[in-house]
């Protein structure tokens, strides 16, 4: 599309000034003990080809005899939002969970193929899944703040239970994370209240704050808004847009309009296979595969 004239039309990936006066950039972290077996990635560079957050090669995942993912190859760009869409049972949640090794919690899970996370082998020998999950955070469909912990304790639980003791550091991290989750102003005067005393939308943002308190490099979101009303959904989507500058976000959603609104790239899956993957604009305006066309236009099934 030609750029024309005296007025500079906004680019498609224009990032607005943050609505939240946040300490947006992650501050340097004292390393958590024990030091990650998988060393942290280099900071994002603005020049050069886009960094690859996940390099998935020929991945297949089996639960016992059932094959949930069939030979999927996919490269997820860093510092962007990638949406995974598809009908129920297509394997999108399984694919998401394989990115932080949560699918291993299901008995009988095994995989073939490889996933590299920022250059490191995710399933290499000696890689501790617990450590991996500190680099890759996850937000679930139903918000799940811990009921016996206060709001502040909820946000910091990942740090505290991993041995971080420095109170000054923790307090700063608490405020930063709540600001980044656009929750600080709403809760700053009652941080001592139980995590479950918040509304549904606030609880989900609390879970996001809890996840980013760990300063992971990547955030996985499994249908984060499906239990929320439109306004809460809008707030979470704005948050995703904000966070995508500093984090890589992969979001599974069955709401196609949401995928269209928030993501830069979209992957369409069906029956365990990756049918099409590309720029969101292209997937929704001019899909290459007829199955994709059928699905996004609502003619599927």
């Amino acid at each position: 599309m030609n750029q024309v004239i005296s007025i500079t039309p906004s680019t498609m990936s224009d990032r607005d000034k943050p609505a939240v006066d946040a300490v947006a950039a992650p501050t340097p972290v004292p390393t958590m003990k024990p030091m990650a077996v998988v060393p942290p990635s280099a900071p994002a560079t603005t020049a050069g080809p886009p960094q690859i957050a996940f390099d998935i090669q020929d991945l297949s995942i089996f639960y016992g005899a059932h094959q949930a993912i069939k030979n999927v190859s996919l490269q997820i760009t860093a510092h962007s939002v990638t949406a995974i869409i598809g009908p129920s049972g297509c394997g999108k949640s399984t694919l998401l969970r394989s990115l932080n090794r949560m699918h291993e919690l299901t008995p009988g899970a095994r995989h073939t193929g490889s996933i590299r996370i920022l250059g490191d082998d995710l399933y290499g020998p000696g890689i501790d899944p617990t450590v991996v999950r500190r680099r890759v955070g996850m937000i679930f469909q139903k918000s799940n703040p811990f009921p016996t912990l206060t709001i502040a304790e909820n946000v910091l639980v990942g740090l505290r239970l991993n041995g971080v003791r420095d109170k000054v550091f923790l307090n700063r991290r608490l405020e930063e994370s709540l600001r980044m989750a656009a929750l600080w102003d709403e809760v700053k005067d009652h941080l001592h209240r139980p995590g479950t005393s918040l509304s549904g939308g606030q609880q989900q943002r609390l879970c996001i704050a809890r996840a980013i308190a760990n300063r992971p490099e990547i955030l996985l979101m499994d249908e984060p808004c499906s239990a929320l009303d439109p306004i809460a959904t809008g707030k979470v989507e704005e948050l995703i847009h904000e966070l995508s500058r500093d984090y890589t976000i992969v979001i599974v959603t069955h709401n196609m309009q949401q995928a269209a609104r928030v993501s830069n790239k979209t992957a369409f899956m069906y029956m365990g296979k990756l049918v099409e993957y590309g720029e969101t604009e292209q997937i929704f305006m001019n899909p290459k595969d007829p199955q994709t066309e059928a699905y996004v236009s609502g003619r599927f099934g």
Partner: protein, 282 residues
């Protein structure tokens, strides 16, 4: 509908309601009667002396109390708690958090069987395992026997309560990169805490009144118990001896003892109710 059918319907309804009320009364009546009788027989003997004095050495005489038996019961409960609760708790944690299907089935079956073992058998176990090697009856032996009763109880209630903790919390903890055992201790156990305490209190209430297992392990003691290796007095034992004694004063004291024992069990049940009833601020 004719008027007579209407009347018939109403009469039938009243009949059924009446029957239901009658059944409820029949169930509650024995309980009320027992409590009432106990109160009648034992209340007058409840005095300061009863709670503070040792049994009268002279069986024919009056006076004296069951102070050592009351304390002894409490002491045995504590020993049983210390010995039995950790085992039951860890077993319950294993079943809920770490076990596999086959192992769990086996462990649960064993626990259910053990729950049904007559308490006197536990007494025999305590006798064989502790009294004989130690060459003597002791508080410790009594505690052991009671602990054996507590273990399968606590195990089952722990498992039930932990299983009720939603898996979503475990998942959230795992997704934060928290090690499994820390999730179990800091999140799962913490969330289930009230239920766990309830389970322990219920088990304590169960063993408070157990007589057979402590008869030939703790034995009973006319005096204060000074060490775990010595025999110890307990309410059930004392009640037993006094109730069958030919001396009226001791009979009277037996009633009082029974009332106190019921009182302890009642307190435990009431605290379970209070703890379970307190809802978290939502």
């Amino acid at each position: 509908m004719s008027a007579t059918y209407d009347q018939y319907r109403k009469a039938k309804s009243h009949c059924m309601s009446g029957l239901a009320v009658f059944c409820a009364v029949m169930v509650v009546m024995p309980l009320v009667l027992v409590l009432f009788y106990l109160l009648k027989m034992g209340f007058s003997s409840l005095n300061w002396a009863f709670f503070t004095q040792l049994p009268n050495a002279d069986p024919e005489g009056s006076g004296g109390g069951m102070a050592n038996a009351i304390v002894g019961t409490l002491e045995l409960m504590v020993i049983a708690l210390v010995l039995g609760v950790p085992v039951g708790l860890l077993g319950g944690i294993f079943l809920s958090e770490y076990g596999g299907e086959k192992t769990n089935g086996f462990v649960r079956f064993a626990a259910d069987v053990l729950n049904g073992v007559p308490s006197i058998v536990w007494g025999m176990v305590g006798y064989t395992l502790v009294v004989v090697p130690m060459h003597g009856y002791s508080a410790f032996a009594g505690g052991v026997a009671l602990a054996f009763i507590m273990i399968p109880l606590v195990l089952r209630t722990t498992e039930e309560v932990l299983v009720l903790v939603p898996g979503a919390y475990r998942e959230a903890g795992l997704a934060l990169g928290i090690p499994r055992w820390k999730i179990t201790v800091h999140i799962v156990l913490r969330t289930a805490f009230k239920g766990l305490v309830t389970g322990v209190l219920l088990a304590l209430g169960r063993i408070a009144g157990e007589t057979a297992p402590i008869l030939f392990t703790a034995l009973g003691n006319p005096n204060w118990n000074n060490s775990l290796k010595e025999p110890i007095a307990a309410l059930p034992i004392q009640i037993y001896y006094y109730a069958i004694s030919p001396f009226p004063d001791q009979n009277r004291q037996a009633w009082a003892g029974a009332l106190v024992l019921i009182g302890i069990v009642f307190l435990l049940s009431a605290s379970v109710r209070i703890i379970a009833g307190r809802r978290k601020k939502a």
